[in-house]
Every structure is written in structure tokens, then in C-alpha cells.
């Protein structure tokens, strides 16, 4: 009756609406927090998977792209003096305080995505001649370099960090947090739709060919450098979009939090655990792993360090016994090989 694209979109909208209304109905800050973090990881894991899962280029710099998105928000927040903003006047058309969030938060997300996307393009151009482990190391180095720059840049708070005073209320939403959560939900839905689209388009097929054999792909007519640059840009932009919302959600950003290794490790572990060959893999991984982490974190049963250790062990287990993740296991159980 419907094409698979329509079915996907309907499913996505229903899921999105259910999550939003569900979290709203629970009316408790805790669930909002948990749901926000899981959505954030859906974006990071999905973004990572576009380059890492389809293209086979392991990016150890997720935290960097995420943090650059966050610091882009901080930078423009300070530059434009948004903390003192009560209303905006566009030649007689006045945007009052409850509506300001509708303008500045989406604008921040777009800016964060643009800056991180450009950084993805630049790093791609500089490093994609490196293959395999060398590319991975260079992205790790990128994180260290950018973090050092931010640490020493007092305008955006340096090592002390920076506060972001968000609009106190947003028209149509119970709280500003709820609005930011809604924005993250939209980004996560967009990320999934983009990943699925990449998978079904030439870009996805080309990236998979690159992953399996780059020279062979070139000789089959795949413009490898061009596709890899598209992937780094797209992946970076999505991570940046997620990062740009972070300051509005937690109201405070510092280098330790923004560049945290947890972002990097999770965005690799989640696709690995869920399955890297399909857009739903990172989603499954993010929901499971993110859910478990939030659950144990909330019970004060584990410290963040212990949680990271747990993720590391889980990753090793999956690499060893189920390299195609939960999706791969599922397909094997049903007697079908991974496509």
C-alpha cells in the first residue's frame, strides 16, 4: 500500500510523537533527562556510523565534533550578547521573550552543524589520504589539538567553562528543557532519516565499496575522495548539531564535559553493538547501551569510569563473538546472512 519510504516516515513520526508525549505525560525531569541523553547518543552513533560503519573509517574524534558544536553555541551566545536578550525587533516585527527560543535555538543548531561540518570537510581533506589505523589516530590527535585550543581560549571560558542562560520559558512548552528535548528529538529523527537515505543512495553503496576495498572501488568508478569528504562533512555536521544543543540543555559547558571520552567511546560502541551495516544498528545500540548507562548511573550503582569500563568490555565481547552486532546476530538466528 505504501512505499517503504512512506512507511519509514510514518513510523518515524509516530515514534517521535509517542516519545515526546510519553515523556511529557511522565512530567518528571528525570525521564526527560534520560530520554535526552539517549536521543543525543542516537545522533552521535548514527553520525559516526555514516563514516565508520558504511565507509569503514574509524573516527576517534566524535567528542571533538560534538564539542565544537557546543562551543559554536557558546561563541555566538557571547558574540551576539544573547544573555541580555529580552526581545527582538525586526523593523517593527517584534519577537517577544517566550518566542525567542524558537529563533536562537534552531539557529544555534544550524551554526553548530555548519562549523562541525566544515571541520569534518577540512579534516577529511587533510587526513583521508591516511587509511585504517592512521586515520583513526589522526582524529584522536585532532581532538587533543582542538581541546587544547579551547582550554586556552578565555573568550569561550577556557578551562573554567561557560554558562549559557537560556530563555526562561518557551511558548507552547512546559519548560525550556522540554523545548530543547523536542529539538533533540527532531535532530535524532533527521539523523536516522539521513542515514537511511545515505544507505539507499549511491553514497552508501560507494562508501561500502570503499570499506571493503578502496582501490577496487576506484577502479569501479567510485570517486573515493569525494564520497569520503561527503561522509566526513555529513557525519561532522550531525555531531555538531547534537553538540550545539548541549549548552542549552545543561546551561554550562566546560572542556572536560564537552570533549569527554565518553562521547567518543559511546559513539563507536553503540553502532558496533547494534550493527553497523544498517541505519537501525546505531539506534538499537544507543537505546540499549544508553539506557543501561542511564539506569545504573541514576541508581548511583556505578561511577562514570566504571560505566566506561563496562562499555569497553562489551565492545570487546561484540568484536569477538558478534562483529555484526545485534542485527547480525538476529539475522543469523533467522538463518539469513547479513546483506
Amino acid at each position: 500500500m505504501f512505499t517503504s519510504n512512506t512507511r519509514f516516515l510514518i513510523g518515524l513520526l509516530i515514534a517521535g510523537a509517542t516519545i515526546f508525549l510519553g515523556v511529557k505525560a511522565l512530567a518528571e525531569g528525570y525521564y526527560l533527562l534520560v530520554a535526552y541523553y539517549i536521543l543525543q547518543y542516537i545522533v552521535l552513533a548514527t553520525a559516526w556510523n555514516i563514516l565508520g560503519g558504511y565507509g569503514g573509517y574509524v573516527n576517534f574524534g566524535s567528542a571533538c565534533f560534538f564539542a565544537v558544536g557546543g562551543y559554536t553555541t557558546v561563541f555566538f551566545y557571547k558574540l551576539l550578547g544573547l544573555q541580555a536578550l529580552k526581545s527582538l525587533d525586526f523593523g517593527g516585527f517584534i519577537i517577544t521573550a517566550p518566542f525567542i527560543a524558537y529563533l536562537i535555538i534552531p539557529a544555534s543548531v544550524l551554526m553548530g552543524a555548519a562549523v562541525s561540518g566544515l571541520m569534518g570537510l577540512a579534516t577529511g581533506y587533510l587526513t583521508l589520504r591516511l587509511r585504517g589505523v592512521f586515520f583513526a589516530i589522526s582524529t584522536l590527535a585532532l581532538t587533543v589539538v582542538v581541546q587544547t585550543l579551547v582550554l586556552n581560549w578565555s573568550y569561550v571560558g577556557g578551562a573554567r567553562g561557560a554558562y549559557v542562560m537560556r530563555p526562561p520559558s518557551v511558548a507552547g512548552f512546559a519548560s525550556t528543557s522540554e523545548f530543547v528535548f523536542f529539538a533533540m528529538l527532531l535532530i535524532a529523527m533527521a539523523a536516522l532519516a539521513i542515514a537511511r537515505n545515505v544507505e539507499h543512495q549511491k553514497l552508501g553503496a560507494g562508501l561500502e565499496a570503499i570499506r571493503d576495498d578502496e582501490d577496487s572501488a576506484e577502479c569501479s568508478g567510485v570517486p573515493t575522495l569525494q564520497l569520503k569528504l561527503q561522509a566526513t562533512t555529513l557525519s561532522g555536521a550531525l555531531m555538531g548539531a547534537a553538540g550545539a544543543l548541549f549548552p542549552y540543555f545543561v546551561t554550562f559547558v566546560d572542556p572536560v564535559g564537552a570533549f569527554n571520552l565518553v562521547h567518543t567511546v559511546n559513539s563507536i560502541a553503540m553502532p558496533l553493538i547494534g550493527g553497523m551495516t544498517h541505519w537501525s544498528g546505531p539506534l538499537i545500540g544507543a537505546v540499549l547501551l544508553g539506557g543501561v548507562q542511564q539506569y545504573f548511573g541514576s541508581k548511583n550503582m556505578v561511577t562514570p569510569e566504571l560505566s566506561l569500563l563496562f562499555v569497553g568490555v562489551l565492545m570487546m565481547v561484540f568484536v569477538a563473538i558478534a562483529p555484526n552486532g545485534i542485527l547480525g546476530l538476529w539475522q543469523r538466528l533467522r538463518g539469513k546472512d547479513v546483506k
Binding site: K202, A205, G206, E208, A209, R211, D212, D213, D215, S216, A217, E218, C219, S220, G221, V222, P223, T224, L225, T277, D337, V338, K339
Partner: protein, 245 residues
């Protein structure tokens, strides 16, 4: 006389101080079957790599179908109509056999035809290419699970799927049993009959002499013979290089 499809003039390549190719000249005409032979280390594989753009040559000029290929990337050469198979099969191991064929169709063949194929066309043409090499029944298997002979066939099918004017078959038969060699040979003849020029690089003399209309012989990076197959095989210099004094 028709103009050559591929013209190689004074092609040279060195790795550090070691001269691998030293001023190679040869031509391939549309629809021709050319054998490229030579002892190990004579520069055959380097020639293939320089022609397909995996390596860039240092001196000389390669022109193909009226276009100078110097400095072009492999994918751009594929767009021009030049396809190659690899000596050691290099499939997209984690993709299905069918998808292995779709990749060159989606990129090289689409670019050459100047339009997007729809899903049905892709499916249809990929099946045709697989049927041609006898891999249709294995379309849904992962390419990494194929046997050697099937991998060789897949290499050829992938090359055909790009709809080339020239196919460079780099040792498509090395390590295969006699009956398998015959299968690949029959395939190459069939492709040629569709108008695709073929350069066969091969050590199996039985196959080369049966296939080639003309032979080019390399030794130590230089071309030492070029002519009709039987004449070249009777050439005392070629005999000495192949069989020793």
C-alpha cells in the same frame, strides 16, 4: 586504418632508483585482443597499474579514446571506458555478489551513459552481467564466501558492468585448473565478441596464444617484441627470454 583505442607513448615508471618501465610504446585497436606477456618482474603489473591509474606514470603519455589519461584518477579512467580486473581478486567482500556488480553500474556505467538508472534497470542489468559469467545462482551470497574460480568470474563481471571499451584482464587465470582456465577463456572471447577490446596479461602460454591476435612482450621494463602472436612466439629473442639460452 582505424585509429587506436589506447595509445601508450614512451611510458616510464621508476620506484626510487629502480626503473620498472622504460619508454614503453604500444597501441590497442577497438575490439582487438592483445596479449601482454613477459617474465616475472618485467613490468606487466606496473603497466596495468599505470594504465588504470592506480599508479601514476612518470614519463610519456597515455591516450584513450581520444582523451589523454595522464594524471586522471582510476575512477575517471573508468568513466572514460577503461576497466580492469585484479590479479588477486579484490571483491567487496561484505557485499552481496549482486551489489558488487551494482557498484560499477551505479558509478562508472551511469557516468558513461550520462543518466541515472532506476532500481529496476540496475537489478536487471546486474542480473544480466551475472548470468553472462554464470554467477546468477549466487547473486545473494556474500562475495567474500565465493570460491577462487567464482571470484575470478566476479572480477570479470564487475569489469563488464562498467560497460567498458577496453578490459584489462590481469592474470585472470593464474592458479586455476585447466577446465577452469577454459571457462575464463571462453568468457573473455565472449566479451570480445561484444566489441570490448581486451588486454590479457597471462603466464599460461596456452591461453595467451589461443586468445591473442597480437602479442606485446616486456622484459626488464622494456618492450622487446610486438606483432602477430605466432610471429612473436617464433622470435628468437622472445624464445631466449622465456626458455633460456
Amino acid at each position: 586504418m582505424t585509429s587506436p583505442l589506447l595509445r601508450v607513448q614512451g611510458m616510464g615508471k621508476r620506484f626510487g632508483g629502480f626503473v620498472v618501465l622504460d619508454g614503453i610504446d604500444f597501441e590497442v585497436y577497438p575490439g582487438e585482443r592483445l596479449g601482454l606477456i613477459g617474465p616475472n618482474g618485467s613490468g606487466k603489473s606496473t603497466t596495468v597499474n599505470c594504465l588504470s591509474g592506480v599508479l601514476s606514470h612518470d614519463t610519456g603519455q597515455i591516450s584513450f579514446d581520444g582523451q589523454v589519461l595522464d594524471g586522471l584518477k582510476p575512477h575517471q579512467r573508468a568513466y572514460a571506458g577503461l576497466a580492469r580486473s585484479f590479479q588477486i581478486p579484490r571483491p567487496f567482500a561484505r557485499l552481496s555478489v549482486l551489489k558488487n556488480i551494482k557498484v560499477p553500474m551505479m558509478f562508472a556505467a551511469e557516468k558513461r551513459s550520462g543518466r541515472r538508472f532506476n532500481e529496476a534497470e540496475l537489478e536487471d542489468q546486474a542480473h544480466q552481467a551475472l548470468a553472462q559469467v554464470g554467477l546468477l545462482a549466487k547473486a545473494d551470497l556474500l562475495a567474500g564466501s565465493l570460491t577462487q574460480i567464482d571470484l575470478r568470474k566476479l572480477e570479470l563481471a564487475r569489469a563488464i558492468a562498467a560497460q567498458p571499451k577496453l578490459l584489462i584482464a590481469d592474470e585472470s587465470m593464474a592458479g586455476l585448473a585447466t577446465s577452469e582456465t577454459d571457462e575464463i577463456l571462453a568468457l573473455l572471447f565472449q566479451l570480445n565478441s561484444q566489441g570490448i577490446a581486451v588486454i590479457m596479461i597471462e603466464h599460461i602460454m596456452r591461453a595467451v596464444s589461443a586468445f591473442s591476435q597480437r602479442l606485446v612482450v616486456l622484459a626488464a621494463g622494456k618492450k622487446i617484441a610486438d606483432g602477430p602472436t605466432q610471429e612473436v612466439l617464433r622470435d628468437p629473442l622472445v624464445e631466449r627470454i622465456y626458455l633460456g639460452d
